[in-house]
């Protein structure tokens, strides 16, 4: 029934914006005579993002409209690779690469490129997880390798293998221990790795959450509102 699809190659948003998510459920505020405000919210948070795709045409727009149609207003989920434009530099991530290597990538060990003439891209290394953690936990520990002890507030990270979720560091607790938000969508085992390139499963918020307007010369900017699909829901509902 529901399936998990990948974003087409080369399709990247022009801008992305986090929107208020499910914490707004039943939200309220009480004000006393003395103007003291008490706010009330649902505790269960989740990601909700709006992506704006740039003006496009030809193959790019075909891929975009195909992707949006395949999502069927929320019936199917999509992998969203979260390329953080504000990610720490490779140097900060514990790698020493020349500018040329960072820009053009690395060839195979025999000096050859891929058949399309492209090199391997240089990405930040992965860091092993230092301690297992339950699902719903918010404290994680990373090993002291590369950037494992160098994360700071606001850094995005994810985990693998087979773990959908985007987490952001909200507190440094020292020695590779961090508080993250949202809480873990899947338990971490000692054999897992952390990555700076998280992948989240998301689906369209509703039937009208995506647009694909085509003008005379090119397709206009299109915005898409996606909501997070939790890891366990991916397995239950989108893995057919």
């Amino acid at each position: 029934m529901g399936r998990l699809i990948s974003m087409p190659n080369g399709l990247w948003p022009r801008s992305m914006e986090p929107l208020s998510g499910p914490r707004a459920v039943g939200g309220a505020a009480n004000t006393s005579i003395g103007n003291f405000m008490q706010t009330v919210a649902a505790p269960f948070g989740g990601w909700r993002w709006q992506f704006v795709f740039p003006v496009s045409k030809d193959a790019k727009f075909r891929r975009y409209r195909g992707w949006v149609t395949a999502l069927h207003g929320g019936a199917n989920a999509t992998r969203v690779p979260f390329g953080d434009p504000d990610m720490m530099t490779l140097l900060e991530a514990g790698m020493t690469v020349t500018q040329a290597q960072e820009r053009f990538g690395l060839p195979w060990s025999n000096g050859e490129t891929w058949s399309n003439g492209q090199n391997w891209r240089v990405t930040a290394p992965n860091v092993p997880v230092d301690a297992a953690a339950e699902r719903d936990a918010t404290i994680i520990r990373l090993a002291d390798a590369f950037w494992g002890h160098r994360l700071q507030m606001g850094d995005y990270l994810g985990f693998f293998p087979l773990h959908f979720g985007l987490y952001t560091v909200t507190e440094e607790r020292g020695d590779g221990e961090y508080r993250i938000w949202p809480p873990l969508r899947k338990a971490l085992t000692a054999g897992d790795f952390a990555t700076l390139y998280p992948t989240m499963a998301m689906r369209l918020e509703s039937e009208d959450a995506a647009s694909a307007a085509r003008g005379v010369a090119h397709a206009e900017e299109a915005s898409v509102t996606l909501v997070e699909v939790f890891d366990y829901d991916v397995r239950d509902y989108f893995a057919d």
Partner: protein, 194 residues
């Protein structure tokens, strides 16, 4: 896990920000359903509860204001389920009779907003409740909602002590007392000259 709010709990609730959710333990013919009004799955008190809101912050299920179940107050909670499919409507029609009168307990719980950890006092049971028979509502071609009410055990005790200030109740208290029949009645006195 006391159901009453202790002094500590009350102090907790004076905080500037409270994260809270409602939980419903429904004993439906298809099995026990553990639902909460947020998003996602959450284990509280050793039971996994499923969220019934959609992730956009809108609600698939609306829960009316929850009344204080005190004596003389017909405390009840109205629950409306929207966006249901055909199978669910059929099951409601088939099992409506069986659903009526089944146990439905409602709980309340506060959380830490950041970590989503349960507050120290755990789940607070609002009242032992029963399900009323579900009502299916059609509006237009597209909208189908199913509404049911959770009544508290004390729902039937909705009467005031000692009766009301009505002529009937006054007659019951003091047989033959017609005094209250004249309360609130506009009396027009016509004096005719002879």
């Amino acid at each position: 896990m006391a159901n009453l709010f202790s002094a500590d709990d009350m102090a907790f609730q004076r905080r500037p920000h409270i994260a809270r959710a409602w939980f419903a333990d429904l004993d439906l013919p298809s099995g026990r359903w553990h639902l909460h009004n947020g998003v996602g799955r959450k284990t509280v008190g050793g039971v996994e509860w499923r969220g019934v809101s959609d992730p956009a912050g809108g609600q698939l299920v609306s829960i009316s204001a929850v009344e204080d179940p005190r004596f003389g107050q017909a405390a009840k909670i109205d629950i409306v389920i929207a966006g249901v499919n055909l199978d669910f409507l059929r099951s409601v029609k088939d099992q409506g009779r069986q659903i009526e009168g089944r146990l439905a307990d409602v709980y309340w719980c506060a959380f830490d907003q950041e970590t989503q950890e349960v507050w120290p006092s755990g789940l607070k049971k609002l009242f032992p409740g029963y399900l009323s028979s579900p009502k299916i509502r059609w509006s237009g071609i597209g909208v189908r909602t199913v509404a049911f009410t959770i009544e508290s055990l004390w729902h039937s005790q909705n009467f005031p002590f000692g009766g009301k200030w009505t002529p009937a109740d006054q007659q019951a208290r003091y047989s033959g007392d017609k005094g209250l029949e004249f309360v609130g009645v506009k009396v027009q006195e016509i004096i005719r000259g002879t």
